[in-house]
């Protein structure tokens, strides 16, 4: 084999990957069917939150927490793999899609901040995810129902752990309580998006593929209130909700996350290790 410079190899492989990519971006006008769209919403949530938690690896406040966060990240990447492979070619979808085609909610792409902000994000997301998955087990779609049966146990642990940490930080020292309150305050405006139902999701709900999130908003709000009560924290004041992640309107944070996550497979598309 003729030796090639990495730059040359990268350019050639990028060109051939681009030609072979089976994925037509939604931003090019392609309308996804509601089932694929739903798989991407759940799959992208798991992928992006998994990547975010992975950023803690080697930076955790203590060794035990570092391992614990990496475990949560791996669970989520596992869920993303199942969901994205059902939606299409998982690797292509994860590493060769552009930011406008990601369908994750805005909450999961928010920066880690300090440990308390990471916990706030995880509490708010996994409480929602856990209630959703419990209902998704009854989906008319065989794959989604089986997926939910498998993932719901993992996510129950995520929810418990996030709740336990919220309680300890909120009801901890003066500083930990302030940080926990700040973390919740940062994440709070992204909660309404979790309960938004647009036309595409409504179609999936109508065909019993997806549960209607509006049906469990009250359950969610009181579950969060119970944890915050135990943590001796006030629920943050409602802020102007920020929506749009499900339609590809993301915060600037997602682009930076993708740049780091996608750099290697985009530069060396056939790299293996």
């Amino acid at each position: 084999m003729t030796p090639r410079s990495p730059a040359e190899a990268g350019a050639q492989e990028r060109a051939s990957a681009a030609a072979a990519a089976p994925w037509t971006p939604a931003s090019a006008g392609e309308q996804l069917d509601p089932r694929t769209d739903y798989l991407l919403r759940l799959g992208d949530d798991a992928l992006i939150l998994g990547q975010r938690l992975g950023e803690w690896c080697g930076h955790g406040p203590v060794l035990e927490v570092d391992i614990s966060l990496a475990n949560l990240a791996l669970d989520l990447v596992g869920q993303a793999t199942l969901l994205l492979n059902e939606a299409g070619d998982g690797d292509q979808l994860a590493f060769h899609r552009d930011v406008l085609d990601f369908k994750n909610c805005l909450l999961v792409e928010q920066p880690n901040g300090d440990f308390a902000q990471t916990i706030a994000r995880h509490l708010l997301y996994t409480t929602w995810q856990h209630i959703l998955l419990r209902r998704l087990t009854a989906s008319s779609d065989k794959f989604l129902s089986e997926f939910a049966h498998k993932a719901v146990k993992e996510v129950a642990y995520h929810r418990d752990l996030a709740s336990e940490w919220t309680i300890r930080l909120g009801d901890g020292t003066d500083e930990s309580a302030v940080r926990m309150a700040d973390g919740l305050d940062w994440c709070w405006r992204f909660v309404p998006e979790l309960f938004e139902v647009d036309e595409t999701l409504q179609t999936a709900i109508d065909s019993c593929i997806a549960p209607d999130p509006r049906a469990f908003e009250e359950e969610y709000r009181s579950a969060i209130a119970a944890v915050l009560g135990e943590a001796k924290l006030e629920a943050p004041a409602d802020q102007r909700p920020i929506l749009g992640g499900r339609r590809g309107h993301h915060s600037e944070h997602l682009g930076h996350l993708l740049a780091e996550m996608q750099f290697l497979p985009r530069t060396y598309p056939d790299a293996s290790w």
Partner: protein, 94 residues
């Protein structure tokens, strides 16, 4: 931060019917998180079906300076090992 947290000894039962075995230790602020840390650190690869955590401070250990008087006398009493007897083939479960 973990220096402020007490140390917990971790015991894992690998399968039903086996006893819990000591596998290591974790730092944690309290018992519940000690279990969570033990679960995340020591049972990620299907190592167990049950976990115990015990505050390390609660373990009573023998004094290394007493090792001589405690353990050395056993060295010269090899007859305590049941290897001098022929066990009949018919005797099972021994």
């Amino acid at each position: 931060m973990s220096g402020d947290w007490p140390l917990w000894e971790v015991f894992v039962r690998a399968r039903g019917g086996l006893s819990h075995r000591h596998v290591g230790s974790v730092h944690a602020p309290d018992a519940e998180l000690a279990l969570a840390h033990a679960r995340d650190t020591y049972t990620r690869r299907l190592e167990g079906v049950s976990l115990w955590v015990v505050p390390s401070a609660q373990i009573v250990a023998s004094d290394p300076d007493q090792a001589g008087e405690l353990f050395e006398p056993a060295e010269s009493k090899i007859y305590r090992h049941p290897t001098f007897y022929d066990i009949p083939d018919e005797v099972k479960h021994i």
